[in-house]
């Protein structure tokens, strides 16, 4: 039996804290196509766990040693990546330093939650961030906004 399944990536919503105060989440400007604003992340290697992949990608792409908080969800729509079918495992994580661009990131920035609506994202990263802001993975109909208000 020849098995073929979609590719897997790990992508991070990285919350940046400075002296205990929440500053915003990390976005990158992609070096490789598709170009545009995205969450940091990348393809999982055979032989590593998905959590190790996430930590490796965050180190390579935004220069941060992140602490994983939780799995936000799995994003698997066949059309979410224009190149091929890719399943993204999205983790919320945190770091205490500011990011520096590397690997597939041309540049990085830390964006406060109330400024995210002005961004234009590649892939389905806008939907992922909307789910993150709602506080409920894959369920945009649940208006749990306290988290946003507390933080901004």
């Amino acid at each position: 039996m020849a098995i073929e399944t979609p590719f897997i990536t790990a992508d991070g919503i990285v919350e940046i804290y400075s002296e205990g105060k929440f500053q915003g989440i990390v976005l990158i400007d992609r070096l490789n196509p598709p170009h545009g604003t995205a969450l940091p992340g990348g393809f999982m290697d055979i032989g590593e766990t998905i959590e190790a992949c996430l930590k490796r990608e965050m180190s390579e792409e935004i220069g941060l040693d992140v602490e994983i908080i939780k799995l936000l969800g799995l994003y698997s729509d066949p059309d979410r990546d224009p190149r091929f079918h890719t399943v993204s495992a999205v983790y919320v994580c945190r770091a205490e330093k500011f990011p520096t661009a590397g690997d597939d990131a041309k540049s990085t920035k830390v964006v406060p939650l109330n400024a995210l609506e002005g961004e234009s994202f590649v892939f389905d990263h806008g939907k992922i961030i909307a789910d993150y802001l709602m506080g409920i993975p894959n369920n945009p109909s649940h208006p749990q906004k306290e988290e946003k208000e507390m933080r901004s």
Copy 2:
């Protein structure tokens, strides 16, 4: 760039209810190697979402139209499958009928939660079920046992 990532499966912890009363979860006896007791599930096809994969596999393998309750977690240890590196997305779901074996299931059974410890599982399905019983995905150190006691 030649991309190669692990295979992806969707596996189900299917809670069976009869006349509103919880009966247990579905286990299968595997037809194909590795042989033994397992959760139902199977490989994701390119072009389907992970949720569609789960529902298709539950239909093919245990004859049930399941309702997805939540994503329990991602299991991605490189050694969890003796054949090759496979990432399992495990969903808790429910159905109102009893299962019937098909596809990779030689037989099926519905096992009450307090009888699960007597089972001998293939892959890391014993760990997955322990996580499910704890109520906290991927965190066996959190002793949230109320769910188990309420149900048994």
